[in-house]
Structures are given as structure tokens and as C-alpha cells.
Point group: C2
């Protein structure tokens, strides 16, 4: 039976397919490859000292150690939720622990929101392109995807409104330096999106893993902060439609698997029951350590990461500017980890990857997987979060040379 | 909106209700209460020294520390899966890492199996009574539950066959010292169930969190081990229908949230994709520490726990035997954490709990929540895993006195 399919898989899980890209990426973990594929934090910047100190502190106190390794409540460790509430307050979001659920990373937050809101056949709105992990997990709930394209200020409003008229369950987006495109939704666009959401009664799932990784320009208020102002105003409809998804993975460490959802208590209450049913609670010790290192190191980590990643982004942008054929466009992100390439029609990102790995030892992620519908195959995602600046420069030069050759031979053909 | 319901909840999540019992149990965490409600491991027996040593070891090696706090693969940490494969081999289950997925505790394993196998309206078979956490999470996938009653050797075969004729997706059970009833499925019954499963093509979800906590009599081979013998025999139909769910929570510590599924690779491959979509992977550091302490302490912990819990079980059984009115029946588990009471008709477990907490400062879990259908309200679950023997004895004496009074006044009425 090993080669066959287990009998009776559910419709949602039948649809799950191994990503060809992930399989390819497994093959390219060779040291000679310069990879822009990852999209993961640089482990050299993990706050390992603070982490070690926290484990020591917890284990040195027998009463706390027993609590740390016992079952705990599904809502999440109270001091961690208190820290998150205080943190969100510094970003203009007034909240309290009754509005916060701790999840196993932001990915579980996205999964739970799909599970809590999608019945098969329901419409959901995503950006085009959008975060692959959200598309994949929403897909297991069998929605109808409505994809809305973006310019460099975010989604196009007329197309968003057309989608909202189809009564979708929610609009999922990453407002800051989105994965994969590196685009930030402008303030004006956020205000207009929020107004449309309230006009049509559509929940906004605001996924903010990169928010702190801003390398230039001012922070733009989150949808959650903007909605709060709106709710305090005279025209408020009284509904809290913004669901804010946060994460410690990009600033502290992904391996503790700590994310959170901040939302209206009416939704959080159901999500707590879902957490209990699904996996009881997040690791107790991990929540305690996350709380310690958030207090000790969050602000300092943000400064370190901004400095390191800004340099890498700048190097990548400079090399792209200098070397890339003019026919290839690329985004200029204010932060995050990603730059998005669009090639002339006819250049397929997946084919280009195969050539790039083989001929020039450079890797990236082809863009087509990031579309819920109407994939553009002439796209690619580059990440600059890993690697020394000189290696980033070298990799872009190699990729650009490959593209120059390819375009030249296309023109000649 | 705080008091209302978030708009547009999915049908599965709408059904989630806060358990009245859990709410009640929150109120009885007072020190004067002797509680048999918990069902959690005794934290005094956690292997805290081994845990501390493992964190130190990982953090002392910079390369390993970086790996420990980075993203990792969805299948789970390879050395941990290797340890599990070796462990299962000692219990007669030949397997390999390609058949094992690490999950966030056994609870997530149960959730994933429900998600992978249930379409709304599908039938699923459970024992009557059954593990509350399985009933709750399966319910979010909207199945039709078929409950099969048990005698002291496990489910009744004629009723199981009648249920299997309705083409259910699976039969979920805890073969050893089941939660809540403390019943162990006998070898003869296991063999007959396995034969029926293959005859009707029904998957068996074998949940084995308590398997090691055996205080008397010989270990009975798991369904997975029995199926392996069957598959090697001349009458094999070649299908691997048994899915084995394991956990480190009861032997080592629940707070690392480490469970696993051992199943046919055709199912594991899909479950790995589901893990990736759902929460990417289990905490990397937790998997490393779990692997260390499993190697260092699993066998020793089993011995310690057997000694401690056996004494508590014996004390509880002795007190029940000595004090309980003859009209009240109770199970005599060979292991695990639970004893099941059945009162005469007319005594409601939930009402009794309210009186027991108020009048005699004793708590337990009323039994009705453990039924997927046709709840028997005249039942209760007692756990003996926590508490000093003298306190267990005292609690049972108080509960028995309350029951004596109640039955006397019922007879008088």
C-alpha cells in the first residue's frame, strides 16, 4: 500500500500537494549554491544568551520548573499575553489578555482563522501574489479564492470592492513588506480598505510578521490601530472586524513556535476552544522563555536585525539596479526580507531556477506558487535575509548575467 | 460586539462549546478540595535534571544552538523519529522514520487524523464512553458518531460489526487503560477487532498514551504489532489500516508537546503536508530536548511512574472496595490513571459533583461528557495520578459517605 493512497482521505486533505519548489529546494542546499530562496531569519542573530539565561532561570526554581513542564491553559501563558498587550499598545493598539490567543507560530493563527471562518465554497480574498503558506492552508477548507492585484501601494481598490461585493468571509493580507512581493500598503490605501471592509462587513486578517523589520520611512499604523480610531469616532458601526496576527519568529526565534491572534473577544473565545480541541496549548516552557526573552531582548533584536538586513537589502538593490536587464522589473521594499522580480513574458521562473542552479549556482523561489489564482509564471522571489553582502552581490551578478544571456538569445531567436 | 458572535463562523467551529465541567473545575482548584478530576501527570516525577542537562548541552554548542532555534522540517527531528522507531521496535512494531510524523502532543495527532479522514456526514466509530478530547475535535469535522459500548474486555463485537457495516472512516480507541473508563481491550478482543477492521476496510486509530503505565499483568500487543503479524501471514490483504498514536506527555513531560503518528507512508506523506500547512513543524528545541531525555530517562521514568501510580491506584481501589455502597460499580484498571464509577439510575454525576465539592470538598469529573452519543449521566471518572495515598483514601471515604447518605435518602423518599 506504500505507493498508493490511504483509503478515504477527506476532500480538503486530498488537495494537499507537495510543492515542487520545496522539493527542488531540498536538492539545492549544497554549499556552492548562493541561495536567495530561504526567507528565514539569520540564526547568527538569534538572542542565544538571553535564551540560555531564561532556561536557567526557569529550571533553577523548582516550583516554576514544575509549572513549566506541566499542562497549561489553552489561552496561553498570562505574562506572555500581558507582554503582547503592552507591546501592541506601543503600536497604538489598545487591547487586553482576553483578546489575545497564543498560537504555534503565526502559521497556526492563519490555519485557525481559516478553520473558524471558511465553509466549503465560501469566498475569501487574497492579494495577488500572496503568502504561499496562507494559500495552502486556506485551500484545505475548500474556499473560492478571489485574488486582487497590487500596485506599489497595495491592492487595487476597485478590484477589491468588486471582490467584497461577492460577500467574502475575509480579506487576508500582509500590510508591511509582504511575502513574497515586498510591497507595503500605504496609509491612504489602508484607510480606504478599512472603509470598504466596514461598508461590506468583511473581516480583515492582518498578518504582520515583518512589521518591525523596517529599514526606512516611518511606520504606518496597522489596520488594528486604524480601526480603533474609527471605532472611537462618530461614524463607527461598532464592529471590530480586524484580526491581527503577530509572531515572535522573525525578531526572536522561530523555533519556540510562538505567534498570536489579537481579535474581538467573541472570536477569541471560539478560537480558544479550537486551540484546546486541536492541540491543547502551546508548549508551556516555550511560552515562559518567549516571555523572558521578549522582555529582555525584543527591542535590542529589532535594532540588530534592522542594521543587518538593511545592509543586505541595500546590497541586493544596488546589484539589481546595476546589473539586471532593463526588461526585468523589481520591487524596492522598505523592509522585510523579500524582493520580487517580474521578467518579460515567456521567461518562466521555474525553468529559470533550474538553469540558474545548474549553470550559475544561484537559487531563488519561482513566483507562480504565490498565486491563489491566475499565476504569473514570469516572476520570482528573492530573499536577502541570509548571507554576507559580498555573496549577495556575487549571486545577483551571476543571476543577472544568466538573464542577459537568456534575453539576448530570446531576441536572437 | 464583545457579547455577540463574530460574523460568519464556520459550521464546524460554531459547534465548539466551552465544557461546563472545565469551567467548574477552574473553580475547584482550592487547596482544601481533594480532587480526582485532573488526569494529568504528577509534576513531582518530571525528569527535571535530565531536562536541564539537555538544554545546557544544546546551548553549549553554538552550531547546535543555531539549529535548535531555527525553522526545521515538518516531518520532525530525525534523531527523535529514529528513537521512536527503535522504541516501537521493542514493542513489536517494525517501522522507520518515513512512517513517523512528530505532532504537538497526541492531541494534534488526533486532530490531524480527523481532518485527514472526515468529510461532513461521514460515520466514525468511538467507544462508549471515549476520550473527551477526541470527541470534541472530531466533532469540528461534523461526522456522524457511532458509539459502541464496552464490557471489561473492550467493545462488544456484535455492535462493532453493526457499526462497521455502516462504512465508517475509522474506529478510534484507547486499547490500554482507556480514558475515562480504565478498561483494557483483551488480546482476544483485539484480534477479533483487527479481523473485522480488515474485513470491512475500516482504519483503526490506536491511541496509546498510557501504554507504559501498566501496574499488573502482561503487556498486550498493540493493534499495530498484531497487524504486522497479520500482514506477514498467508491471509494478508496487504493493507496497513492501523494508525498508532504515541505521546511523551505521560512518561516524560506534557509541556514539550511531543506526540507522534506511526502509519502507512501513504497517509504519513499527506499528514506531513498537513503539518506544514497547519503550523510548519513542532518546536525544534523541544524535539531535541525530547530526544535527549527520551534516551536518558524514558525507561527509568516508566519504572518510577509505575511504582508511584500503582500505589495510588491500589489505595483508591482498596478504599472504593471498602467504603462504596454496593449499588455503585467501579472498574479495576491494570494501569493508566482512571477508575470509572457507575451509580444507580437517578444519580446524576454533575449534580453529585456540585454536592461533593460543596459538602465534602471532593472533586471528580462527571461521566456524561465522555459520550459522543447516548450519554449515561449516572457515571463519573476518578483519577488517581495526583495526590498522596492518605489523601486519596480520605477523599474516597468522604465521597463514599456522601453516596451512602444520598442512596439512603433516595430509598427513604
Amino acid at each position: 500500500m506504500s505507493e498508493s493512497v490511504f483509503p478515504g482521505l477527506s476532500l480538503g486533505v486530498q488537495e494537499l500537494r507537495a510543492s515542487e519548489i520545496r522539493e527542488l529546494l531540498k536538492l539545492i542546499a549544497r554549499p556552492e549554491i548562493i541561495s536567495f530562496a530561504g526567507g528565514i531569519p539569520d540564526p547568527a542573530i538569534f538572542p542565544l544568551e538571553a535564551i540560555g539565561a531564561s532556561y536557567q532561570r526557569v529550571l533553577a526554581d523548582p516550583a516554576q520548573a514544575k509549572e513549566a513542564f506541566q499542562y497549561s491553559i489553552s489561552e496561553g501563558y498570562v505574562p506572555l499575553r500581558e507582554w503582547i498587550a503592552g507591546y501592541l499598545k506601543t503600536h497604538g493598539i489598545e487591547t487586553g489578555i482576553e483578546r489575545i490567543l497564543i498560537t504555534s507560530g503565526a502559521q497556526q493563527a492563519i490555519d485557525f482563522l481559516g478553520r473558524a471562518l471558511i465553509n466549503p465554497g465560501d469566498s475569501v480574498v487574497v492579494t495577488s501574489p500572496s503568502y504561499l503558506g496562507a494559500i495552502q492552508v486556506f485551500n484545505t477548507y475548500q474556499p473560492k479564492f478571489l485574488s486582487v492585484p497590487m500596485d506599489n501601494e497595495g491592492v487595487l481598490l476597485d478590484q477589491l470592492e468588486a471582490a467584497f461585493k461577492q460577500k467574502p468571509k475575509f480579506f487576508y493580507l500582509t500590510p508591511d513588506f509582504c511575502n513574497p512581493a515586498g510591497i507595503t500598503t500605504s496609509l491612504a490605501r489602508r484607510e480606504a480598505i478599512l472603509e470598504l471592509a466596514h461598508q461590506y462587513g468583511v473581516a480583515i486578517l492582518e498578518d504582520s510578521p515583518y512589521e518591525e523589520l523596517r529599514y526606512e520611512n516611518q511606520r504606518i499604523p496597522s489596520f488594528a490601530a486604524l480601526e480603533q480610531r474609527y471605532l472611537a469616532g462618530p461614524d463607527s458601526d461598532g464592529r471590530r472586524l480586524v484580526v491581527y496576527i503577530g509572531s515572535l519568529s522573525k525578531v526572536l526565534t522561530p523555533a519556540l513556535r510562538i505567534g498570536w491572534i489579537n481579535a474581538d473577544p467573541s472570536l477569541i473565545n471560539k478560537l480558544v476552544l479550537l486551540k484546546q480541541a486541536s492541540d491543547l496549548h502551546c508548549s508551556t516552557i516555550n511560552q515562559m522563555v518567549a516571555c523572558d526573552i521578549a522582555k529582555a531582548s525584543h527591542a535590542g533584536q529589532v535594532q540588530k536585525l534592522r542594521k543587518a538586513y538593511k545592509e543586505r537589502r541595500d546590497v541586493m538593490l544596488e546589484a539589481l539596479e546595476r546589473c539586471l536587464p532593463k526588461e526585468v522589473s523589481f520591487t524596492r521594499p522598505d523592509g522585510g526580507m523579500f524582493i520580487w522580480l517580474e521578467f518579460p513574458e515567456g521567461i518562466d521562473g521555474a525553468e529559470l531556477l533550474a538553469e540558474a542552479v545548474k549553470d550559475t549556482h544561484v537559487a531563488f523561489v519561482p513566483g507562480s506558487a504565490f498565486y491563489a489564482t491566475d499565476a504569473k509564471r514570469n516572476t520570482a522571489r528573492l530573499s536577502f535575509s541570509l548571507g554576507e553582502p559580498a555573496r549577495i552581490r556575487e549571486g545577483i551578478e551571476r543571476l543577472a548575467a544568466l538573464l542577459q544571456n537568456k534575453l539576448r538569445s530570446n531576441r536572437a531567436a
